[in-house]
Amino acid sequence: MKKIHAVLSLSCVLALAVFSSGCNNPIISAGKSDPNDQSTQPGLKRVEMGGSLARDLEIASINQTLVNEDLLKIQANVRNVKGGDCRINYKIEWMNADGIVINDSSAVWLPLRIRGGETAAIQSVATTPNATNFRIKIQKAKYK
């Protein structure tokens, strides 16, 4: 009887562990702290939801410039602070001056592999001159 209880308890604990790890894929995101900041290295506002990704990755800095005369181009420098490879998915959402998300082809999750200690450049170009701010979302990829 004791054995059955032990097995059942262990199964429950295991099920909980598997369940929580499968459902817990938090997103870390970052954007400009001041949407009107037009400097080449704008200040960052980070929103981190915890989880191991926040410990493994660091959004070191962001650069921005204008291309095609009036379209904002940004580059987020993401560093893998751990020794092993890190596979992530990222998405960039562009927003207008009122903070409304612009519906364009940027709204797609893109895969990226960052080797241990490496800094990867995530780039995106706004598709409209109305885009003044952005939000980068990063989450762990499903497969290692």
């Binding site: 059942l8 429950c12 291309v67 998915n89 497969y143």
Partner: protein, 207 residues
């Protein structure tokens, strides 16, 4: 007795946790269909075909490259008229190339650098045949509002598929190749290339 109570409590807690946050229990035995977002990372990933998220990714990357090149900003009159030419599907699966082009057209228009004709096309056939007919009739009546702005750019290209195999691992390379031609000079002013590579043994749900 105590052990039974603990086990029961644990089992109850597990059941509540799983049912409260996990996927809802299907009504039928295998009913698990759900909606996923456009461009979601939960979409199917097929080794042998271009999936929805691949089209969006290719369109986005090609446009970013085009905008970064500054080619569209060089037209003397802006917004310049862009003719959307043919994009040939040279892959093994059939799909409508508008899956790639429609979102590109939307984003190109949003850039305010180009206008896209829907009433001009190869062999005199435009995308909107009704509008084309109406314009033709108005032209015959001499309506001064009907004008035919000459395209300044033309966008064309092809999509190529390459397959490689090592043991049981397959790699599919999908090349999206687009060219922007300036009609006045007849020369290419931008050559875009986006490669989407998939590698694996079998298809997957999500990535």
């Amino acid at each position: 007795m105590k052990a039974t109570a603990i086990t029961t409590l644990l089992a109850l807690f597990t059941a509540i946790s799983v049912t409260s946050c996990g996927p809802r229990s299907p009504v039928g035995r295998n009913a698990d269909t759900r909606y996923i977002d456009d461009g979601s990372e939960k979409g199917l990933v097929n080794l042998g075909k271009i999936n929805a998220q691949d089209f969006t990714r290719a369109a986005n990357k090609l446009l970013q490259d085009l905008f970064t090149s500054g080619a569209l900003a060089k037209a003397p009159v802006q917004p310049a008229v862009l003719h959307m030419g043919k994009v040939r599907n040279d892959t093994q699966t059939y799909f409508d190339t508008d899956l790639l082009l429609q979102s590109m057209k939307r984003d190109l228009l949003a850039s305010n650098r180009v206008k896209i004709s829907t009433t001009e096309g190869p062999g005199g056939i435009g995308a909107d045949e009704y509008a084309q007919d109406v314009r033709k009739k108005l032209e015959l009546t001499g309506d001064p509002k009907v004008n035919r702005p000459r395209p300044y750019y033309s966008l064309s290209g092809k999509i190529i598929e390459e397959t490689s195999r090592v043991e049981k691992v397959t790699q599919k390379d999908f090349y999206f190749l687009l060219t922007l031609t300036e009609l006045d000079t007849g020369t290419g002013v931008w050559f875009g290339r986006e490669l989407i590579t998939k590698q694996g043994r079998r298809d997957a749900i999500g990535f």
